[in-house]
Symmetry: C2
Amino acid sequence: MASGRPASGEDALIARYFRPLATDPGAFGLDDDAAALKSNGEDVVVTTDAIVEGVHFLPDDPPDTVARKALRVNLSDLAAKGAAPAGFVLTLALRGVDDAWLKPFAAALGEDATQFNCPLLGGDTVSTPGPLMVSVTAFGRVPPGKMVHRSGARPGERVMVTGTVGDAALGLAILGGGKVHAAATDLAARAALVGRYRVPQPRVAMAEIVRGFANAAMDVSDGLAGDLTKLCGVSGVSAVIDLASIPLSDAARDLVARGVVGLETLIAGGDDYEILCVVPEDRVEAFAQAARRSGVAVSSIGTVIAGVMAPRFIDAQGKEIVFERLSYSHF
Amino acid sequence: MASGRPASGEDALIARYFRPLATDPGAFGLDDDAAALKSNGEDVVVTTDAIVEGVHFLPDDPPDTVARKALRVNLSDLAAKGAAPAGFVLTLALRGVDDAWLKPFAAALGEDATQFNCPLLGGDTVSTPGPLMVSVTAFGRVPPGKMVHRSGARPGERVMVTGTVGDAALGLAILGGGKVHAAATDLAARAALVGRYRVPQPRVAMAEIVRGFANAAMDVSDGLAGDLTKLCGVSGVSAVIDLASIPLSDAARDLVARGVVGLETLIAGGDDYEILCVVPEDRVEAFAQAARRSGVAVSSIGTVIAGVMAPRFIDAQGKEIVFERLSYSHF
């Protein structure tokens, strides 16, 4: 992003909507071709996630929620890696300049950038005849060598997850109409589930705690079951998960109890943006306390075991449940 | 980008095509949610540019050229900021998995990453029903506080540009058929112009020289005239440009001489990816020598003057030429 004298619609767009967000000195007021992350002796953690209209958000999702989701899915990755936010760049593919859409989009993006201490550093705005796309690359900082990986899980350690799982998948199902929409008659519960789909709550407050306690971590974005399978795969271990321990919201628990959805919908559905991590047995209590103090509930859902098999899921009766689908895939 | 056991088409795609490119230890083999740029005491320069099918490249452009262009437009920004490449992340929006397209795309991307010492660090692959889009965020390193800005130009300094200007605009015109195509009968010249549109030559070798000599710099991506206007605007100065000094390739000079295109087409056309910079008068000779030693020709095209007017363009007869269009704009 760059602009001198407003020579083009692109420059005017940037000056109007995005320059006010570029509060960090390293953004150079979006007046340059690049931003600079000052060296402070820490490693820079880099993550990138894009959201596409019709795939990650719906065409009639409010623009403020689209902005928040685009940034927050990246903040979620940073938190799971133990990194404190440092800033982000934005690539926006638009069909045209729609002020009624851009104004609330930029305002919400600015609010989130402030709230999460993650300033806009730069970006690119391009025209597309296709669906709207918002691509964010976000930066965080960790002490040298201290990024938390997917690969550190060892047998005997406990599998932990923050918050509740599956709400966003239910929110998406509600927006799609159909049986979940029909069954979710409680309007407050319905709004809460839709809210979890549209506006994730990245666990930024957990970054330092994850770094302090977890031997492996990732954020849950494509479904708990599939993401756990990935973490185990990279770590060269397996896991046994106690299905009854998976944390569900009251609304989700109610829909499962009434037979509207199965557990598979919840643990293979995407968009949770919770943190899945592995903590040594003797540190679980201290980890949970630290999380609670930061306002985040964590649940122990199983144990890492040796082996290369996919994780196993055991129900309350001790019976293994095999799921057909573990996660969301784009292709 | 991340993959454990190949659980999805997305993971398989990444493992097959992109993991071989992730040679840097900070990429963690694309097995994680994020990459890490190790602290080495230097600032990290960040730039992001996306290219969209039908806008920045043509639907039937060969996939290897699309890959090279996506990376090189970003390398061009880094070079103009005086930064040595450190790595990049890639966001790829695809309609589906087309191996015949992806294989040469990834192979060329890997070749360029090696050639320019800019390894793939991570990315995201998403599905889209719309046009293909390749978004790259690239990282470079400069000594603390040494990024070269657009804002440092002062009256009396010389305006310099690398290479030749306007060839890519002619290449695009040739691909579009019409009068330029009809007039460019020399097949070698035609191929050279098309090549400049499809595969920019980023001036990576100039990074350190720009840092050493230039008080302001940017890469020329949206047209020399418009980009110079931006640089002057941010610097709070104006400039007088000698149109006869603007470096043209033989092919471009021939098309101008024959009246096929006007100079406006060349200096307002995009995709040059040359470096425009401002150098103090007494350092111009040393700058030009250093550039030549690195294999890059540079031309002096004018002088920075005080004022806030847009730059003026003077022809060989001393007459001011006013151009209708200064640059490419998306909106």
